[in-house]
Structure formats: C-alpha cells, structure tokens
Amino acid sequence: MSFKVFQINEEFLDVMPKEIVELQENATWGNPKRGVMDLPFHKELIEEHSLCAGCPEAAALRYIMASIPAPEDTVIVNSTGCTSLVFPHIAMHTIHSLFGNQNAVASGIKRVLEYRYPDRVKDVIVLAGDGATVDIGLDCTLQSFFRQEKITTICFDNEVYANTGGQESGMTPKGHVFKMAPKGKQFEKVPMWQLAIDSGCHYVARLTVSSPKRVESVIKKAVYVAREVGPTYIHLYTPCILEIGLNSDQGLEEMRSKDKERFEFFEYVSPQAQEVIEKRKAEGLL
C-alpha cells in the first residue's frame, strides 16, 4: 500500500497545485493492468516535460510511465543527459547520481530493498541514454548483467550525445558525421542488444517507439521477468530530431523508417523468462 505516499493531507488539498491533486485523484495507482490506453483518460505520471517540441524521447517516457506495472512500488535510476531533464517532472521516486553509474546505484538499491522488504515486490528500473549506458557506463551496465541483478535497464538510443551538443557516441552508425567525428564515425554501431544477451539478460528487446502498444508490451515483460528471474534490457530508438535535422513533426516518421532498418523489432526471451511471460499472460497482465 505504499502508493499512500502519493496521497495528500486533506488539510492541504485546497492549497496544493492542481496537477498534484490530479495525481491523487486520477492517476493509475495500484492497477497492474494500466497501460498506454489510459493516456487520454488518466493523469499521467509525467508532468509538462522540458524536452524539445516533438522529441521522440518525450513520447517514449510517456508510454513507459503509463506502462510500468506498479509505479507506486518502482524506483527509477537515471543518468546525466536529456532524460535527466525530465525526471524532476515525474511522480515517482527517482535518482540521478552520476553519469554512467546508474546500473551500480540500481544494484545497491535493489539488493537493499530485497533485504529490507523480503516479502514485498519493489521494482528497480534504470533509464538512461546511449552515452550513459553503452559508452561511459558500459562497465557498470554489463557488470550488473553478469551479477544477475534483478533490474530492468532501458536505453534511450538517439545515436548521439545530444544534450552536450551532438557528439559521436558508440551507438552512432559507422560513417555518420557528428562533432568529435568530423570525418564520420570510424567504427560500427555497438550491438548493445547482443551484448546484453551474451552478458546474461533474460529478456532483451530492440525497437523504436513508433508503436505505443509495443512499448507497453516490452516494458511489462521486462519488468515482470526482472522481478522473478534476472536482468532485462530494452533498447529504444528515440532519435534526436534536432541533431539529425528534422522538424518537430517528423520524429514519428523517422522512427517508422527505422522500424524497417537497424531498429527492426527484435526480441530475445530466455526459457525462464518465457515461463514468467506465459504465467503473466494467463493472469491477464500481458
């Protein structure tokens, strides 16, 4: 019943900002069947974000926040970058620590929450950009997979260091010209989804966020599998329209075009993960 922490003292109701009151009255707490179809009808956990107009990352965050099965019992650990601009606007317990240490912080949190609350389910989700996940944080990311930490890691791949002004990242495709790669990137895009599988993740998905329902499905599978089996990894294409020269209404089009290319939907499910998914399907939760 920890979603009571979101309830406002009655005596303060008249002075609380409207959006906070709406969170109590009309957000979807305590309902694992919540999902992206609630978006038009319920209060979202993300308040007016501060990303660029039309940023696909904003859409991804909205779908993810709508899909997390138990937001009242979920901690999100994020990292430095565009995503960290959004976390002050999210009605959950979130942590920004350093750039690249997100999976290490999440490992500590998850283990202590399991120790302090052995009979309760508390989900820990890491949400960070491609620089944080694959470049500066790769060590902590993969090591948390090796250790079989029961956390879900979500990478927002925009194929560039966007927040710092458009520098090449490990996830930039070979040949693309960005700052710090003025002759074009000299090596291939890092196959992070494959590294995740090889490092012990039990559920791995690679997709764009062009389909909200698909995002909901992979988020729920990843969280349920992490809860019971071990690490899970979701790789999302959230293009930086600013850095690739698109207009604010062209993000969806860009993602749809990549649905047929390097972000074609890909899913890996380990046998143990498959069992969990079947069980949750039978319960009507997937």
Binding site: E72, I95, H96, L98, N101, A104, V105, R116
Partner: protein, 398 residues
C-alpha cells in the same frame, strides 16, 4: 533510585542485544585482544548493526573487506558482494544507503582515486555512508606502501574525515562514525582514515566490548532527505539537488546546497567531540614550546620522539594528535599551541597537506615557527630518531 526497568530488551536482525552508543563505546566491560587493524574493522562492523557492504580488492584494505564478507556469511551484515571497480563499488554503496541501509565499505590509494567522482556525490546526496580508508601511495610510480597523499585530495569532498592512530582508535571510530554521520542534523558521509600496513597489518592489543551487543540499527526515516524505499513521502522525489535548469534559482540552490553540506560537517562537532572524547588528544608536557601536530601513525612516531627528546636531550615537547580533519579542530589546536615556539608537522606524504591545514588554522593565532617536517612518502618509515634530529637541527640553527 530508579525503579526496576520495564524497558523491553531489543535485538537487531543478527540477534544481538541493542544498546546505546554510549553504553557500547564507554560503559560496556572490555576485554583485551591481540589483533590487526583489519581484524579491528571486522570487530567494529560486527557490533554496528550494518545492513550492507560492497567490496573490491586492493592492497592493503583487502583483508578488512574479506572479513566483512565473513560477517555477511555469519549473518551480521545483510547485503555483501564484490563490485566491478571502486567507481562501481562507491556507486553501489550509494544505492544501498539511498535505499535505507547502514552501509560501510573500504578502499586504499589508487582505489580512492578511481572512485573519486562518487565522494562529492555521496555528500551532496546526504548519505551517511562510512568509508574506511586504509591509506596507501598513489601511482605513478607504482607503490602499494603506506602514504596518505590521497587524504589531501579528499579534504573538500564534503565528507567528514576522521583519522585513527591505531587499531583501538579505528574500532572506536567506526562505531562512533555511524552514530555521528547518521545524526539527523549531520547526515553526511564519514571517511575513517587509517594508515595502511602500519595499522591494517600490524597486530596490537585492543580492548573490545562483548560481541553480543550492538549499535541501534539505522533509522532512515529520521534522515533529513526522504529515503528511496517507496514508503516515504513525497511521492514525486528526485534524490539529487534539483538543479537541472539554467536559471538563477537553480544556481542559488546549488550554491546553498553545497554550503549546507559544509554546515552539516560543522554541526557534527559536538557529537564527534562526545563520541571521540575530544577532537584532539595531547601527549607530553602540556606547557612545552615544541609541539608536534600530527594524525595517524605520524602521531605515534611523534609521541615516541617526545619520549626520546625528554630522556636523551632533556627537551620538553608534546604531541597534538588530530582525530578529525573534517571538521578541523580549529579551537582545540589553537588552544593547544598557545605556548608553542616551534610547531613540527610530521607527515606521510610528499605534499604536506596537513602542514597547509595547520598553517591555515594558526594564521594570526600563533607566532610559532611552523615546520612541515619530517616528511616521508612512498612507503618510507618515519623513525622517531628522524623526528628528533629534525627538531635538534632546527634548534641548533637558531
């Protein structure tokens, strides 16, 4: 006078009887043991109701970290594992502490530097993590020997820094460290420093209270910042200073947040004074005009030099041992050196960070000549005779 106590006896998760910090540190009967500094860490952690510890191998702190692992096997520590590097470990213990655990870890030398980005983060996140730092040389050239240069780097991280002289100090400081660091009006990390090898690997006599009593467990709901366990309001909470905007309010917030971390260290003074029995310890003739200001084993060697100076030269001297570096014991030091004509600062590092601290603290408070010597580094020892000859050569010049 008081009636028969009806207070319920309480036990921690390991089944030890919970006693007050004062009882554990000052009142409980103590028995004499012979052990290394690393083993003293184990005995302190055993009695500290520790929830979590993450480890990584580096000489000379590895044994202490192994022994905490043994305590985990024995059921005295809740969470324990080996992290991927000191950077990862210090982030993992941050996660543990953010989730409400009493957390301890250990490191040394290059490990401290590998982990460095985490220390200001610990302070800014206001977690009362305890780091036992077994000081060692910093590369390059490679050295695994005792040297405390790294402590100079840590001075402005926003962590409390205490300095233990020997295994007994270390045992008592680890217990006191949790109590002071977790005080709601303090709630910043504490780095408990001890010289590697000289203390970590050396057996000495140590007085220990029984092992069936322990500190009261950490209560994260008394913390000045909400614990991230999803049981504490507010529901919308970013556990980081909320400065992700470029405007005047966020700059002011960032500045005031950092000042507040320093203010929290200042607020630790009365608690540290109580649980450490003072921020400094004096040894020798209180009125001597030759004063050694030192921390750690440099203080032990200076004490021996005081004895030699008296016995062999008939010269009075005294040692002011600093137990805390952050907070720095300004008042205590100024009072202790009011008769001083010569102040020697013997140190185990090339930079002389303690000499700088002493000069800053005594500027306009003392007319004594401050001499940053003797200074050894990279594993060199500091025989008491070297300290004596330093004193004599300075006196002869005059």
């Amino acid at each position: 006078m008081s009636n028969v106590s009806t207070q319920e006896v309480q036990y921690n998760k390991s089944g030890q009887r919970i006693v007050s910090p004062d009882y554990l540190l000052f009142e409980a009967p103590r028995e004499k043991f012979f052990m290394t500094g690393s083993e003293a860490v184990k005995e302190a952690v055993r009695r500290a109701s520790v929830d979590a510890s993450v480890s990584y191998p580096i000489t000379p702190q590895s044994e202490a970290a192994h022994l905490i692992g043994e305590l985990w096997v024995e059921g005295y520590v809740g969470v324990y594992f080996r992290g991927e590097s000191e950077f990862g470990v210090m982030s993992e213990v941050a996660g543990c502490a953010l989730a409400g655990a009493r957390t301890i870890t250990t490191t040394s030398g290059p490990g401290t530097l590998r982990a460095f980005e985490n220390f200001p983060m610990w302070a800014g996140t206001r977690i009362p993590v305890q780091l036992v730092l077994m000081a060692r040389g910093v590369n390059a050239p490679l050295s695994i020997q005792p040297d405390n240069l790294e402590v100079g780097f840590l001075l402005d991280t926003g962590c409390m820094i205490w300095y233990a002289e020997n295994a007994q100090d270390l045992f008592d400081m680890i217990l006191a460290g949790f109590v002071v660091a977790e005080h709601p009006s303090v709630h910043v990390p504490v780095i408990t420093v001890v010289d590697g090898f000289f203390v970590s690997h050396t057996r000495e006599a140590i007085m220990l209270p029984p092992d069936d009593i322990a500190l009261p467990p950490y209560n994260p709901y008394k913390a000045p910042m909400p614990v991230i366990d999803l049981e504490a309001p507010p529901g919308r909470f970013l556990r980081d200073p909320f400065v992700m905007k470029s405007n005047y309010i966020s700059y002011a917030t960032h500045a005031s947040w950092q000042f507040e971390v320093r203010a929290a260290i200042e607020r630790s003074r009365p608690f540290a004074k109580h649980y450490l029995r003072g921020l400094v310890e004096e040894f020798g003739n209180p009125d001597a005009d030759i004063v050694f200001v030192a921390a750690g084993t440099a203080a032990s060697q200076a004490k021996e030099a005081v004895r030699l100076l008296k016995d062999e030269e008939g010269i009075d001297a005294k040692v002011v041992k600093l137990k805390t570096i952050r907070p720095f014991p300004y008042d205590e030091l100024r009072a202790a050196v009011k008769n001083a004509k010569y102040i020697f600062v013997p140190e185990f590092n090339v930079a002389g960070w303690l000499e700088r601290e002493v000069r800053k603290a005594l500027y306009k408070y003392s007319d004594a000549e401050i001499i940053g010597a003797p200074r050894v580094a990279g594993g060199m020892t500091m025989p008491a005779e070297v300290i004596v000859s330093e004193v004599l050569s300075n006196l002869r010049v005059k």
